[in-house]
């Protein structure tokens, strides 16, 4: 049974469609509060309710390329953590061996 889960965007499995539930503060270094991340994200179309999907990731744990609002936006995982998304997750059965 798939369950609806809310998780930070950088934890969203690649290619799984999700919906933005909230733009929060994320795991950001305390110093860089300016320019305001939330405002920048909103300006690029990261609005609550928008459909979102991770498409690509840069090499060596590089930035994520996410499809949101008809555009492909690149952002680093640390900033993506500020975007909380809602996704239908299939729970991982750790007990059953294959």
């Amino acid at each position: 049974m798939p369950t609806t889960e809310i998780l930070p965007l950088d934890r969203l499995p690649h290619g799984l469609p999700a919906r933005i539930s909230k733009i929060g503060e994320g795991r950001i270094e305390p110093v860089s509060t300016k320019p305001n991340l939330e405002e920048l994200l909103l300006g690029l179309g990261f609005e609550e309710g928008a459909e979102i999907e991770i498409r690509h990731q840069g090499p060596l744990g590089g930035p994520l390329a996410v499809q949101v609002d008809g555009r492909l936006i690149a952002l680093r995982p640390i900033d993506a953590s500020a975007v909380l998304v809602e996704a239908e997750m299939v729970p991982q059965d750790s007990g059953t061996g294959a």
Binding site: N36, G45, P59, L60, G62, P63, D69, G70, L72, A74
Partner: protein, 621 residues
């Protein structure tokens, strides 16, 4: 009295604003896809019937009215009427991308709160219909309370309609009717409110939603693949540098022959004496040895323009971000640094799009380490003279490989210097990367050609002014005073230039430079490629007239040892940059300290690298 109408173009990056500006003004400039290609002020003017003069300014692209980068501050201030740089516009043309209506409409709504007359250019209608998107532009006009003109800027369609719409009187009713009640200049509704409204409007005016651009998705699955992506990027760069060498061979030979023909003609027709020497040895030898590199510079720019216009550049920044971060840079620095391969000046200026001050400063500091086009003449000359053009493997030639190596050394040094700066002088919190990866687009042939013509014009103008001037001054320094009749050394040895060179030789002898090189380094400060012209002048003056006719490369082969040649190459990887670069660095950093630091560290690196190369080569030979 002419009636002046001030028009300002605004819009998100990638809305096709630059193309629209080109279409409106006929101004020739670069058209790109990378967010932030619009950095400089771009203005134009044209006449419309009824004796009206339209003054149009293309404001830097911005995603919102909250200014985050120096670019956005300019746009913000002009629209608020607080700018000292620009008049408050009479009409604001907001360029919106028809394929991304929601986000762009939000920006238009934000603009509306300023209370200025706004006209919407609904741009990229061709791409919208390609993606199956259908928009009711009349309905959009009604919803926004602004006139909407559909355009396809790159094909110049809808431009006349847009110009006609500048007649503001006919819209007065519409604007008044829809002006937001209680909206005051400067009071912006919250982003979320705007977002909600934009979503509603976009849904209302969209007749058909369209499908995602399939080609972009397919291409990205290859180009952005963590393994294939970097390989493609490296291959493209490698292809670019091989092309610079092999494709340019034939046109360079033609230019070389033409210059020599002109020199022969001057020798035959002009009376022997000072004037003949000035023309043949100063002007033709000097300027000729620089103009010959025009084909290579154009090939390099052709690659950069095509990559930029196709939408690939932003992908390159995406792929490079992690590596750049390790070095204390930002993926966004990739574009300024790549532009620096053409010339450090546009590169340093493009660093304005980096909103984080520390990242921006680091980018500016290392930009001169990217091998600019002006260094190509130096590299090409030395490589052609000293490196055999043998095939190494699979059709790759040694000369191209050495050239590639020199570029790589520059890049690696830039990463190291940036990393050191991050840990020492320029500490601070890491910045972020947030940018759009635009849809792929076939570059327009016309735009590329116009961009190339612009580069060629700039280069030839440089050759005709600063380089020509330096050549004449150098020729003067090299010709006077004349040697005594019983002199044993070449004439130039006794001249002022020779004296300066011999004085500097004390400094440069330990790294293998002779006095001729020392002489050439001085005018090389004006512009790097002048060093080649200067060598031409120095050697053609110090030899017989036959030496003028034979190419400089041949002269150098006999005049320099291999270690000296390699040391000279190493010097130019780091060479303290030209005066114009220092001037731009001073302006952009607003600090004499950082400018002095830039000069100092480059000089030190160049000296050490040349010295190390010279002594290593001497030991091995």
């Amino acid at each position: 009295m002419e009636d002046v109408l001030r028009v300002a173009l605004v819009g998100n990056p990638n809305s096709g604003k630059s193309s629209l500006f080109n279409a409106l003004t006929g101004n020739r400039q670069k058209v790109g896809n990378y967010p932030g290609v619009t950095v400089e002020r771009r203005a134009g003017r044209f006449e419309v019937p009824k004796d009206r003069l339209v003054k149009i300014v293309d404001l830097p692209g911005t995603y919102s009215l909250t200014p985050h980068s120096p670019d956005e501050v300019v746009t913000h201030d002009v629209l608020m009427g607080t700018s000292t740089l620009e008049h408050l516009p009479d009409v604001v043309v907001c360029v919106i991308d028809a394929t991304n209506l929601r986000v762009h409409v939000r920006f238009a709504l934000e603009l509306r709160s300023l209370g200025q007359p706004i006209i919407i250019a609904l741009n990229m209608m061709d791409l919208a219909s390609r993606d199956g998107i259908e928009i009711d532009s009349d309905r959009l006009s009604e919803e926004l309370g602004m006139p909407v003109v559909p355009t396809v800027a790159v094909r110049k369609s809808g431009i006349q309609e847009l110009v006609d719409s500048f007649d503001t009187k006919s819209w007065a009713a519409l604007w008044t009717k829809y002006s937001v009640p209680g909206a005051k200049k400067g009071s912006t509704p919250s982003v979320r409110e705007l977002q909600k409204e934009a979503r509603r409007i976009a849904a209302a005016v969209t007749i058909h939603e369209g499908v995602e651009h399939k080609l972009t998705r397919i291409l990205d699955s290859i180009v952005l693949n963590p393994i294939a992506g970097p390989i493609i990027l490296l291959s493209l760069l490698f292809l670019m540098f091989q092309a610079v060498f092999s494709w340019a061979e034939a046109p360079m030979a033609w230019i070389d022959e033409s210059i020599m023909a002109l020199q022969r003609l001057s020798l035959e027709t002009l009376p022997e004496g000072l004037f003949q020497s000035l023309i043949v040895d100063g002007v033709l030898a000097g300027v000729g040895s620089v103009v010959i590199f025009l084909p290579q510079i154009l090939i390099l720019f052709a690659f950069i323009l095509v990559l930029e216009a196709s939408g690939y550049m932003a992908r390159a920044a995406f792929l490079m971000d992690r590596i750049m971060t390790m070095a204390g840079l930002n993926g966004r620095a990739f574009i300024p640094l790549l532009s620096s391969f053409a010339c450090a000046i546009p590169g340093i200026m493009a660093a304005r799009t980096i909103d984080h001050p520390r990242d921006r400063l680091t980018t500016i500091m290392v930009a001169p380490l990217m091998t600019c086009a002006a260094r190509l003449p130096v590299y090409t000359l030395i490589i052609a003279a000293f490196i055999p053009n043998t095939v190494v493997f699979g059709g790759v030639r040694l000369q191209g490989l050495v050239m590639f190596g020199l570029y790589i050394v520059g890049i690696v040094s830039a990463l190291i210097v940036a990393g050191v700066l991050k840990k020492t002088l320029n500490k601070g919190a890491p910045s972020r990367l947030l940018m759009e990866l635009p849809k792929y687009q076939a570059p327009r042939f016309r735009d590329i050609v116009l961009g190339l013509i612009e580069r060629a014009r700039l280069f030839i103008r440089r050759a005709g002014t600063i380089i020509l001037f330096s050549m004449i001054v150098l020729w003067g320094l090299a010709s006077f005073p004349a040697p005594s009749p019983n002199a044993t050394e070449p004439d130039i040895f006794y001249s002022i230039a020779g004296q300066i060179g011999r004085a500097l030789e004390v400094v440069f002898a330990p790294i293998g430079f002779n006095w001729e090189i020392s002489v050439a380094l001085v005018p090389g400060m004006a512009a790097r490629e002048v060093a080649v012209g200067a060598l031409g002048t120095v050697y053609s003056l110090s030899g017989s007239e036959d030496a003028v006719a034979s190419s400089l490369a041949t002269v150098l082969q006999s005049a320099w040892s291999l270690p000296t040649a390699l040391a000279f190459l190493a010097w130019y990887v780091f060479a303290p940059q030209c005066l114009s670069t220092l001037a731009v660095a001073r302006r952009e950093t607003n600090s004499w300290g950082w400018t002095a630091f830039m000069f100092g560290y480059l000089f030190a690196l160049a000296y050490i690298a040349a010295g190390a190369t010279y002594w290593t080569a001497m030991a091995l030979m």
